[in-house]
């Protein structure tokens, strides 16, 4: 049995709802959609029981009616699993994972800034990466967001001293 099959089997045993949803793309690359209510349990299980101790990145996705949050967990052996959870666009709220993966702080702040997702439990801190004078309720990575002149103000070169 390949390493990928082992991981899939272990996961399906613990969370039967995965049976259909895990996709093996190639060596060391697994993908799965996870229901929102199961996500925390799955993440803890991966971290505590299966050696997926690295959180490589959190990717925000704009999928129309929902926002996707794609968590990539890795094992030191190189195995990667991408877990996607969808949260509704009208109520973009999700939980922070800084207790389990402290490194997720900046990734979460980034998504909060760029997509407007609120992370419950994320301590107040300096914003990242948008500028301090960025207007509220402008989330540049949402698909319906277009750079407005007010934001991308490109004042012409006033005078070029030569």
């Amino acid at each position: 049995m390949t390493a990928e099959e082992t991981v899939v089997k272990a996961l399906v045993e613990k969370f039967p709802c995965f049976a259909e949803k895990i996709r093996t793309q190639r060596e060391r690359r697994l993908w799965a959609d996870v229901p929102a209510d199961q996500f925390e349990a799955v993440a803890h299980h991966l971290f505590e029981q299966m050696g997926f101790t690295m959180l490589c990145s959190i990717t925000g996705l704009d999928e129309g009616a929902t926002f996707g949050l794609l968590y990539h967990f890795g094992q030191p052996s190189g195995m990667m699993i991408g877990l996607k959870v969808s949260i509704p666009r009208e109520k973009p709220e999700w939980k922070t994972f800084i207790g389990l993966f402290p490194g997720s702080e900046l990734y979460e702040r980034e998504i909060a800034d760029l997509y407007g997702v609120r992370f419950e439990g994320l301590p107040a801190g300096l914003r990242y990466p948008l500028p301090d004078d960025w207007p509220d309720n402008e989330f540049p990575l949402r698909k319906d967001w277009k750079a407005k002149p007010a934001v991308a103000a490109a004042a012409p070169a006033a005078e070029v001293k030569s």
């Binding site: 012409p156 070169a157 030569s162």
Partner: protein, 136 residues
């Protein structure tokens, strides 16, 4: 063994040696043969397909049709990132890279570089239109 002044020997040896510094700009720079510098345009080869414009990552090249099979090409040297993708993309090899890199100017306007089309064939003495003003 640890001791302070570990580099003493090396440093003293270089004190008398010829410095590593090149003579530029008093002597011309020695540049690598494949250096990607300013792009050069051959008007006679161009067919006006504008693939170069489309692939340019930084909106630095503009090809204008002046008349029948006559094209001029405008480079904004202050926008070009000298990636030579346009050279790779051009189906007619109407563009090449040169290794000219000393492009500094005090006046930004001088960084717009125009390769003019060859003079129009004498018959229709139509005055070519001025290039469409690009948004600055």
């Amino acid at each position: 063994m640890k001791y302070p002044g570990r580099m003493l020997g090396e440093v003293l040896a270089h004190l008398g040696a010829k410095p590593n510094t090149i003579k530029y700009p008093y002597e011309p720079a020695v540049v690598q043969a494949g250096l990607r510098g300013k792009i050069k345009f051959f008007a006679e080869k161009c067919i006006g397909c504008k693939i170069c414009e489309k692939d340019c990552p930084s909106d630095a090249i503009t090809v204008n049709k002046l008349g029948d099979k006559r094209f001029e090409c405008i480079f904004d040297l202050d926008k070009c990132i000298y990636c030579a993708q346009c050279v790779d993309s051009c189906p007619k090899k109407a563009l090449t890279v040169t290794n000219e890199f000393e492009l500094a100017q005090l006046d930004r306007h001088k960084l717009r570089f125009i390769f003019h089309a060859p003079d129009a064939p004498p018959a229709p003495a139509a005055q070519p239109e001025p290039p469409a003003a690009k948004t600055a």
